[in-house]
Chain length 217, copies 2
Amino acid sequence: MIASDEMTKATGRETEGRRERKRRQTRERIEQAAISLFLERGFDVTTVEDIAERADVSKRSFFDYFPSKEDVVFAWQDGFAEHLMRAIASRPLDEPVVKAVQYGLTSAIVSAADERALRLGELIRRTPVLNARDQFKYAKLEAKLTEALKARSRSEKESERMRLLAAVVIGALRVASERWAAQPPGGSLETFAHRFFADFWKTLIDFGNEGLQIRPD
Amino acid sequence: MIASDEMTKATGRETEGRRERKRRQTRERIEQAAISLFLERGFDVTTVEDIAERADVSKRSFFDYFPSKEDVVFAWQDGFAEHLMRAIASRPLDEPVVKAVQYGLTSAIVSAADERALRLGELIRRTPVLNARDQFKYAKLEAKLTEALKARSRSEKESERMRLLAAVVIGALRVASERWAAQPPGGSLETFAHRFFADFWKTLIDFGNEGLQIRPD
DNA sequence: TGATAATATTGCACTTGGTGCAAAAATTTA
DNA sequence: TAAATTTTTGCACCAAGTGCAATATTATCA
């Protein structure tokens, strides 16, 4: 139990008994074994037995730590949605939603982008079944974002707009992550995000204006 | 072989030998058996053997017609992307892209929305694994749309904008399908689509304007 | 400390989706 | 009718995942 405070590596070591510690260690061992095997050989050709063997646990135990093979790849991402929710909730209520979203997303992105994320991103991109699941993650993220935004809105009308904002902004997130991956590495992610969003809002206006010109054929 | 001309029910019956005819009939039998079982009992609890039995073929033969259980649900959707591509390609090149997209999408939606689509939509919505795959479909659709739009654009700059347009518009499609499903049935889909888009473009402008106000904290 | 309760780990049998292959059945062609 | 082609099937097999009961480990408390 209690996977809630994995962040308490330094602070809560006193309260972490042998049981919790061993369980955490085992989980980390499994995760490391799995990821390294995935990167070495590929996701599909790596069997759960391979992973279990390298992590020195039984195949059955693997499923006691992760509900599926795929979940090993995506477990670390779980924090992203939570971070985003918290970041948005922490913005002042009188702030324009769009601004709250931009800052929330930027904060979540920056905190999630590390070395491992890049390598896993590569793996996900070149593995169809992981790719599919990644899209599902975006959908769930969109749902959570919608929820967070609706919580800020006062009218029904505004709520409907928030659903649209979430959809549009998660779409932007997908594009942004593509562009960031295609960029020469080393740049500042904050700067990139800021520029991307600025361009994005401008482009939205262009699209909107073009769309408003449309008259029935 | 030859799944290419399934539309030739009336016209090409002379050229369709016993082999092709039986194969088509078997495929339809399997599909019907599967869908009806999915709707009766649910997707997860229906086994391929159940389907094969109701369709009176062997389990092995099922996989000769469909690569996976999920594919039975999504096979019919394959036409959507093609229709969209064709619809967009048929719009005049000097037409604003946004207009071409709106009309292309509307056309594809209208042609795809039938009785079966609604019931399958319900099934997909309440079955997580199908839901995931559905999201993947959207992603692939987005990729195809991007491709179609980039084919229309002349500059690199414009190409990048097209990637954004595709993302934003497919996001809109997701929201639109939600709203349509939540609506009292019986209305005109064309009218609904037209109104939705009009509202959508206006909302984009609002979001864009809000976004442009953002200054660094 | 030692007994006992709680939890973690494992082995094992089982179900299901999916594939490869070769034999058998149906269909077309000569 | 015989030969060639395609379809269908049976069968053995692999891998993901689950349920369950037995065992081992750790925590608790008298």
